[in-house]
Amino acid sequence: MSFFKTITAKPWERKGIIGGLRPEGTFDATPERVALIVFLAVATIVFSLFSVSYRIRMELPDWTPLAEPTLLWFNTGLLILSSVLFQWARNISKSESLKNIKTAFIGGGVLALLFIAGQMITWSGLQASGFYVASNPANSFFYLMTGLHAVHLLGGLWVWSKSSIRLLSGGKIEDVRQSIELCTLYWHFLLIVWLVVFAILSNT
C-alpha cells in the first residue's frame, strides 16, 4: 500500500465497500510474517542503541580495547552456514520434491546450536584469561552484546525445535512451510546483526 495515498484518502466522500474481501491497506502477507517484521524492527533498535552506547562509551578515557578471540571467526562461519542451510530448506519447501528438507532445516538449527556452543567456549576462554565482565567496559559490552545475540538466537531455536519435531514426526509440509520461511528470515536477520556486532566489537 502506498502510505501517502492511504493517508490522503477522503473517507467522508467515498461510501460503499472499498476493496475486495481484504480491506484496502492490508499487506499481502500472513499476520505472522507482518508481526515478525515488526519484531525485527524492534530488535534492530535494541541492537542499534547498544551500538550507539558502545561508540559513546568508547570515547571515554578508561577504555582498553579487547582482542577478539580468533574462535569468533570460526563461529561466524558456522552461523553463515546455518543461514545458508535455512535458505536451502526454504527453497526446498517451495518446490515440488521435498528431498533433503529434513537435512537442510534440522542441519541449519544444529549449526546454530554449535554457534552458541562456540560462543560459550569463547566466553569461558575469556574468563580463564582473566577478562571478566566487569574488568573493563570493552569486556562488558562484549559479553552483553554477544549474549543478547545468543538469546535472540535461542528464541529462534525454540520455534525451530517445535517445527523440527513436527517435521520429524511425519507432519505435513503445509504445517511447517510458514515456520521454515519465517525461521529463514529471522536467521538472515540474526546473521546480519552478528556481522555488524562483530565488526563493531572488533573495531576498537
Binding site: 492511504t6 493517508i7 490522503t8 484518502a9 477522503k10 473517507p11 467522508w12 461510501k15 460503499g16 465497500i17 472499498i18 476493496g19 474481501l21 481484504r22 480491506p23 484496502e24 491497506g25 492490508t26 499487506f27 502477507a29 500472513t30 499476520p31 507482518v34 508481526a35 515488526v38 519484531f39 524492527a41 524492534v42 533498535i45 535494541v46 542503541l49 547498544f50 552506547s53 559513546i56 562509551r57 571515554l60 578515557p61 578508561d62 577504555w63 565482565v133 566487569a134 567496559p137 562488558s140 552483553l144 543478547l148 510458514q178
Partner: protein, 596 residues
C-alpha cells in the same frame, strides 16, 4: 497465501474457545477479558500510587507532623508514584486496557491476531507489577532515586533502596517492556491485517489511529528503556561501569571507573519523551471519539487529525534532550532540541483547534463522558502552554528544578490523560457491562476531580515562579521563599486529599452500577462506530455472531443532512441509509432524537 475471511476461520476460533471458568476468566485468550484484567491491574496499582502521592502531600503541607514519613520514605514515595503512574497505570491502561478492548471491536475482528501472545502479555505485565510491589517488602525498601533513576545516585549508599529496591525496579521494567512488546506486536498486526471488509485505514475511528501510532512509538521507544535497564542492572549486580563513574561513597572510592551517567540520561529520555506520547496519543484518539459522538458531529478535520497523530509520533523521537537542558550540552544541541520541541506545538495545537471546532454548532449532549472530554480540553491547553515555556532553554534553566515543572507535567500528562480515561470508561461502560452508570454521581465525580485538580496544580505554577524547588523533602527557611508559600502548600495538600478521596465516587458508581444500573440500550449514545454494532451487549466471545460486519462508510456519519437518524452506523449500506420519511427510529430514545 490465499486470504481466508475471518468468519470462515472456524478452526482457529474453536482452538481457544473457553470451556471452563478458569479458561474463561483467568487464563483467558479473549481480548475483552484480557482488557479488563489489564485495566483492573493498572487501576489497582494506580491506587497504590495515589496513596503514595497523598503521603507526599501530607509531608509537604504539614512538614514533620507525620513520623511515618521520613526523608527516605518521602523519596521512595516520589519515585514509586512517578514510575507507577506513568508506566504501570497510564501505559498499561490505555494500551493494554483500551487497546485490547477496542481494537478488535473497532476493526470488526473476532479477536486479536495472536490471542495466546495477548494472554501472555497480560501475565508478564502482572509479573512486572508483582516484582515492583515486592520491592516494598524487601530490606531497604523500594528505590528512592526519583522516577528517572539517574545514576550514579541510584546505586549509592545515601539513596533509599540502593541495594534490592533498584534491582527489583529494573527487573520489573525489563519484564514490562517484554509484556508491552508482546502486546504491541498484536495491536499493530491486528490493525494492519485484521480489519473487516471495507474498513480502510482512513475509515478507522481516531481511537484506533491513536492507539496504533502510540503502539508503534512504544515498540520503538521501549527498547531504549530495556537497553538502559539491562546495562544498569549489570552495573548494580555485576559491577560493570557502563554508567557508573569513578565515585567516592562516604570517603571510600567505589570499584567503578569511567562510566557515563549522561549516557544513561540520553537512553532514558530517548524512551522517556516518546513515553509522553505513548500515553497522550491514545488519549487524543479516545477523546476525539467521545467529543464527536456526544456533539453529534463528525470530527472536524479527520485527515488532519490523523496526520497530526503521525507527525507527533514521529517528532516525539527527536525532542528527548529537552529534558536534559540542565545536564549540560553543546548550545547548538540545546537550540536544535528547543526548536523541535516547539515544532511539536503545531500538530498538537491543530488537534486542539479541531476538538473545539468539533464542538462548534454541534448538537451537544452534556453527558458525563462529555464533561470529562471538555474538561480535558481545558487542562490540556493549560498544560500544553506551559510546555512552550519549558521548551525554551533560557526559560527552562531557572524553572527546571522548581514546582513549575511539576505543575506542567501533571497538567499535561497527569490530569489530562486521567480525565480522558474517565471519559472513556464512562463512555464505554454501557458497552463493557451492559449497564448504565449513575449520571449524577459521575458528574459529581467530574466536578470534584476537575476543580480539585486546578486547586492542586494551578498554585504550583506560582510556587515555581517563586523558586520553590521540587524534589525537596522540606523547604526549611530561605531568604527568597516567603512564609506564605507554606500556606499555599497546605491548601494544595487539602485540595489533593479531597480530590484523592473523591475518587471513591468513581468506584462506588462503577461497582454499584454493575448490579443496579439501568440496563443499557444496545447503542445508548447513538454512536456510529463499529464497536456499538455488535449483536450482544456486552459483546460475547467472538464478538460478531455468525458473520463479520462489512463497513460501508467512515466512523463519523453524524447528523448527515437528509438522514432521519442523526447517526449512520459504519456497517449501514447506502441502500439502507435511513432517510427522512422512513420511520424506523425509536422516538423514546433521546439519543436518536432527530433534529435534522
Amino acid at each position: 497465501m490465499a486470504y481466508v475471511p475471518l468468519a470462515d476461520q472456524d478452526k482457529e476460533m474453536e482452538f481457544h474457545h473457553p470451556h471452563s471458568w478458569v479458561t474463561k476468566y483467568v487464563w483467558s485468550q479473549d481480548h475483552k477479558v484480557i482488557a479488563i484484567q489489564y485495566g483492573g491491574t493498572a487501576i489497582a496499582v494506580g491506587l497504590v500510587a495515589l496513596v503514595l502521592s497523598m503521603l507526599m502531600r501530607m509531608q509537604l503541607g504539614f512538614p514533620g507532623s507525620f513520623d511515618l514519613i521520613d526523608p527516605a520514605a518521602y523519596y521512595q514515595a516520589v519515585t514509586m508514584h512517578g514510575m507507577i503512574m506513568v508506566v504501570y497505570l497510564l501505559t498499561a491502561l490505555f494500551l493494554g486496557g483500551f487497546g485490547n478492548y477496542l481494537i478488535p471491536l473497532m476493526c470488526g475482528a473476532r479477536d486479536m491476531v495472536f490471542p495466546f501472545l495477548n494472554m501472555l502479555s497480560f501475565w508478564v505485565y502482572l509479573l512486572s507489577v508483582l516484582i515492583l510491589m515486592a520491592s516494598f517488602f524487601v530490606g531497604g525498601g523500594p528505590t528512592g532515586a526519583g522516577w528517572t533513576l539517574y545514576p550514579p545516585q541510584t546505586s549509592m549508599a545515601g539513596t533509599p533502596g540502593h541495594d534490592m529496591g533498584i534491582v527489583l525496579m529494573l527487573l520489573s521494567l525489563v519484564a514490562f517492556v517484554v509484556a508491552f512488546t508482546m502486546g504491541g506486536l498484536n495491536y499493530v498486526t491486528t490493525v494492519l491485517q485484521y480489519r473487516c471488509r471495507g474498513l480502510t485505514m482512513m475509515r478507522l475511528p481516531l481511537t484506533v489511529w491513536g492507539i496504533f501510532v502510540a503502539t508503534v512509538v512504544g515498540l520503538f521507544a521501549f527498547p531504549a528503556l530495556l537497553v538502559a535497564g539491562i546495562m544498569m542492572t549489570f552495573d548494580t549486580l555485576l559491577g560493570t561501569s557502563f554508567f557508573m563513574p569513578a565515585v567516592i561513597e562516604a570517603g571510600t572510592p567505589l570499584d567503578y571507573d569511567g562510566g557515563s551517567p549522561l549516557l544513561f540520561q540520553h537512553l532514558f529520555w530517548f524512551f522517556g519523551h516518546p513515553e509522553v506520547y505513548i500515553v497522550a496519543l491514545p488519549a487524543f484518539g479516545l477523546v476525539s471519539d467521545v467529543l464527536s459522538t456526544h456533539a453529534r458531529k463528525n470530527i472536524f478535520g479527520y485527515r488532519m487529525m490523523v496526520w497530526a497523530i503521525i507527525a507527533i509520533g514521529g517528532l516525539s523521537f527527536i525532542v528527548w534532550a529537552h529534558h536534559m537542558f540542565v545536564s549540560g550540552m553543546n548550545p547548538y544541541f540545546g537550540f536544535f532540541f528547543a526548536t523541535t520541541t516547539l515544532i511539536i506545538a503545531v500538530p498538537t495545537a491543530l488537534k486542539v483547534y479541531n476538538w473545539v471546532l468539533t464542538l462548534w454548532e454541534g448538537d451537544i449532549r452534556m453527558n458525563a463522558p462529555m464533561y470529562f472530554a471538555i474538561g480535558f480540553i481545558f487542562t490540556f491547553i493549560h498544560g500544553g502552554l506551559t510546555g512552550l515555556f519549558l521548551g525554551n532553554v533560557v526559560i527552562d534553566m531557572p524553572l527546571s528544578d522548581t514546582y513549575f515543572v511539576v505543575a506542567h507535567f501533571h497538567m499535561v500528562m497527569g490530569v489530562s490523560p486521567v480525565l480522558v480515561l474517565f471519559a472513556a470508561i464512562y463512555h464505554w461502560y454501557p458497552l463493557i457491562t451492559g449497564r448504565m452508570f449513575h449520571e449524577g454521581l459521575a458528574k459529581a465525580h467530574f466536578w470534584f476531580t476537575f476543580l480539585g485538580a486546578y486547586l492542586v496544580f494551578l498554585p504550583m505554577h506560582y510556587l515555581g515562579f517563586l523558586g520553590v524547588p521540587r524534589r525537596y523533602y522540606a523547604l526549611g527557611t530561605t531568604d527568597f521563599i516567603p512564609a506564605s508559600a507554606q500556606d499555599l502548600n497546605q491548601s494544595i495538600t487539602l485540595a489533593a486529599i479531597i480530590v484523592g478521596a473523591s475518587q471513591i465516587l468513581f468506584f462506588i458508581n462503577i461497582f454499584w452500577s454493575l448490579r443496579n444500573g439501568k440496563k443499557a440500550d444496545s447503542n445508548p449514545w447513538g454512536s456510529a462506530s463499529l464497536e456499538w454494532q455488535t449483536p450482544d451487549r456486552p459483546p460475547v466471545h467472538g464478538n460478531w455472531g455468525d458473520e463479520l460486519p462489512t463497513v460501508y462508510r467512515w466512523a463519523y456519519d453524524y447528523s448527515v443532512p437528509g438522514a432521519h437518524q442523526d447517526f449512520i452506523p459504519m456497517n449501514t449500506p447506502e441502500s439502507e441509509e435511513p432517510t427522512a420519511g422512513e420511520d424506523h427510529f425509536d422516538p423514546d430514545s433521546d439519543t436518536s432524537k432527530a433534529d435534522l
